[in-house]
């Protein structure tokens, strides 16, 4: 994975609470067997009319918001299904970060493993970002993972939490699987002391 340190980009706001992963990527697109090509289907049911034409009033479709890299979502973003297709779709649609006041557990995990940054901010900042994005589509924010700061156009920086391990992995382009693979001895020692609970290969 490419290291991620800092980037600046414009925002698009979708300030709806409890956006579930079925909205981010509807189930009918999950019949794929790779991660690519999901960007066009991101928010599909909100984004397109029945005939497949884009809905003009949906923010992601508006010309001014093309190229936005930061999605400002509502509270409890990414709830529901554990599908990792959700961050894959958001990344495919060009986003590098999602800002919310709160993320659902599995979504946050999945996002961090794919280099999509879940940025948690307080309600006041969130409100400010939503208005900014709606009033000025060109307004840019900077996400600085190194200092864990989101820098607003007025220069104000707000700190956001990221667990130390994910931050380390993202900054250094280290993948988490490599870390666990490195623990082979400890895993083997655990297995040595702990008999297996089931043997799925035994014919019952």
């Amino acid at each position: 994975m490419e290291p991620i340190t800092k980037f600046s980009g414009s925002m698009v706001a979708l300030p709806i609470n409890d956006i579930d992963t079925d909205q981010i990527i509807p189930a009918r697109y999950l019949k794929v067997t790779d991660k690519n090509g999901l960007g066009a289907a991101c928010f599909s049911d909100w984004r397109y009319n029945a005939d497949g034409s884009p809905k003009a009033d949906f923010p992601l479709n508006q010309p001014a918001y093309q190229g936005a890299q930061v999605l400002v979502g509502g509270h409890n973003f990414g709830c529901g299904s554990s599908r990792e297709h959700a961050p894959w779709a958001l990344l495919g649609a060009g986003f590098k970060a999602v800002v919310s006041t709160y993320f659902a557990d599995i979504f946050r995990n999945n996002a961090l493993k794919n280099g999509l940054l879940p940025v948690v901010v307080d309600a006041e900042t969130h409100k400010q970002l939503v208005s900014l994005a709606q009033e000025d589509p060109t307004a840019q924010v900077t996400v600085d993972l190194e200092s864990q700061k989101l820098i607003l156009p007025d220069g104000r920086g707000v700190t956001f939490p990221v667990d130390a391990f994910s931050r380390y992995c993202l900054l250094n382009g280290v993948d988490q699987l490599g870390f666990v693979l490195g623990l082979d001895e400890q895993i083997a020692s655990y297995e040595g002391q702990t008999p297996g609970r089931v043997n799925t290969l035994a014919t019952a």
């Binding site: 300030p15 709806i16 609470n17 409890d18 579930d20 079925d22 909205q23 509807p26 189930a27 009918r28 999950l30 019949k31 794929v32 067997t33 790779d34 991660k35 049911d45 029945a50 509502g74 509270h75 409890n76 709830c79 529901g80 299904s81 554990s82 599908r83 990792e84 709160y102 659902a104 557990d105 599995i106 995990n109 999945n110 493993k113 794919n114 667990d163 130390a164 391990f165 380390y168 988490q176 699987l177 870390f179 666990v180 693979l181 623990l183 082979d184 400890q186 895993i187 655990y190 297995e191 002391q193 702990t194 297996g196 609970r197 089931v198 043997n199 799925t200 290969l201 035994a202 019952a204």
Partner: protein, 481 residues
């Protein structure tokens, strides 16, 4: 069970005991804990990219004997052809199923293939086969893995990257969650079920209320429930945002596990039960948070909105966004009612529906089918309703047929189908048409979940059955004796 050097000086919760027993490497300020996974369940939708990663890196599956695969999400539930085969007509689904077969063959993982005797919804087959046991850690690339917590296992959903981690290492990086006691006192009245308990819990805490927590369900009402009813409750823990839900194992649990194909046998059984008996939370163990409900006051529940937290007593009226103080909540409810085409203050009782879906990992086990069949027996599904009955597994289907439940459903005019997720997720062609209303025993009423533009009311199998008969949303208490 993990060897525990832990001397129980401080009282521990069920969750803490299971957690402690599976630590390969403890949490440090810089790294999450590394947990050993006893059982990894795999299905066709969330695993292909994980196997691809293993191939790219030249990795093997570390413990194929602690891994079990099934096909459920994109599989058709249409009847078998003359050759006894379930035809897959969707080419993308067919390709996905082929990839699953190839991955299982290449990596040595056992697979319950489409239509074979043990195939079914991943969260139905684990318990059914005796793979799910108390005190285990269980993961699957599926959020409803929380179902298996009914046995006192720590079971939760993971993403596809994590599926790859577990395949390659049998371990998972996890930060330690907090614990929430969900206590349900009292006794349920007739016509009120486990599904109503969990819909009431989620309505109370909201869909984000449990984020960061593992729930432990406890109290008189939980103790009185069968294993299958406990599974219904644990299944929907994720709909309250919780990572997992657990119920302390007891004699009900042991009786259910005993004798199943993968359950321990003979002396090993005795040893295991002795270990399981010490798992329940110690007296004086503390939880980070608590919710309390009184089963005596519960009625059948139904959802009116577009997330499982938007639920109410079936006799209540749709809430009014204008009565909500919080602006974003007001917006969310307004948007939901618009999608559902419902008016504030409107009752749901008496509202016509188009489809009734009895199925999903929440409510497709034999007890769910029996309950619904008892109500339906000798009655007819209303002419305006399409009722689909989708057993959770081939085993459930066979059992139901042996008991003549299929006949009850068929004679009433319902469809009796093959096992799978079906209209719970609408990936396989079983779906609502735009604008249609369904009463569904599944777990998610998100926009479009059961088909683009479809509208879902979540409810219990009893409410679903009563509604199918009357053709309009019905309080099942009128129809059960």
């Amino acid at each position: 069970m993990g060897t525990t050097q832990h001397q129980p000086t401080t009282p521990r919760t069920l969750f803490e005991k299971v957690w402690d027993n599976h630590i390969v490497r403890p949490q440090t300020p810089d790294t999450p804990a590394v947990l050993y996974i006893d059982l990894h369940l795999v299905h066709e939708v969330t695993s292909p990219q994980a196997f691809s990663l293993l191939r790219e890196r030249g990795l093997k599956v570390r413990r194929p004997e602690r891994t079990m695969a099934t096909m459920d999400h994109s599989t058709p539930t249409t009847p078998r052809n003359a050759a006894g085969i379930i035809p897959v007509t969707d080419s993308m689904a067919a390709a996905q199923l082929d990839v699953m077969r190839k991955n299982c063959a290449d990596f040595g993982i056992p697979l319950y293939d489409l239509g074979t005797k043990n195939q079914g919804i991943v969260h139905v087959i684990g318990p059914e086969q005796g793979l799910t046991q108390p005190g285990m850690t269980i993961v699957c690339g599926d959020s409803h893995t929380s179902t298996h917590g009914a046995f006192g296992a720590l079971a939760f959903g993971i993403g596809t990257s994590e599926v790859a981690h577990v395949l390659a290492t049998q371990c998972l990086l996890q930060s330690k969650p907090n614990t929430m006691a969900v206590r349900v006192d009292g006794r349920l009245h007739p016509g009120v079920t486990a599904k109503d308990i969990i819909l009431a819990v989620i309505a109370k805490i909201g869909v984000g209320g449990g984020t960061g927590y593992v729930f432990e369900y406890m109290g008189e009402a939980i103790r009185a429930l069968s294993m299958e009813a406990r599974m219904t409750i644990c299944n929907m823990s994720i709909e309250g945002g919780a990572r997992a839900g657990m119920v302390a194992p007891d004699d009900t649990t042991f009786e259910y596990v005993a004798g199943r194909p993968f359950a321990p046998k003979g002396d090993e059984w005795e040893r295991r039960v002795a270990e399981w008996r010490v798992l329940p939370s110690d007296d004086g163990a503390t939880f980070d948070n608590e919710v309390v409900l009184d089963a005596n006051t519960l009625t059948p529940m139904i959802t009116y909105g577009t997330n499982p937290g938007m639920g109410m007593a079936i006799t209540a009226r749709v809430p009014d966004p204008d009565q909500l103080g919080d602006v974003s909540q007001k917006m969310a409810l307004t948007k939901a009612l618009q999608y559902m085409d419902l008016q504030p203050g409107q009752p749901l009782l008496g509202k016509p529906v188009d489809v009734v879906f009895l199925g999903s990992c929440t409510n497709s086990r034999i007890s769910d089918l029996r309950e619904a069949a008892r109500l339906i027996k000798g009655r007819k599904v209303a002419a305006n309703v399409r009722m689909m009955v989708v057993p959770g597994s081939q085993q459930v289907k066979v059992q139901a047929e042996a008991e003549g439940l299929d006949k009850v459903f068929r004679e009433a005019g319902a469809e009796w189908r093959e096992a799978g997720c079906s209209m719970c997720i609408a990936m396989n062609g079983d779906q609502l048409q735009p604008g249609q209303y369904a009463v569904s025993t599944s777990n998610r009423n998100f926009e479009g979940r059961q088909g683009k533009g479809g509208r879902t009311f979540l409810a219990s199998p009893l409410t679903a059955a009563a509604t199918a008969i009357n053709g309009v949303i019905t309080d099942p208490r009128e129809m059960v004796n």
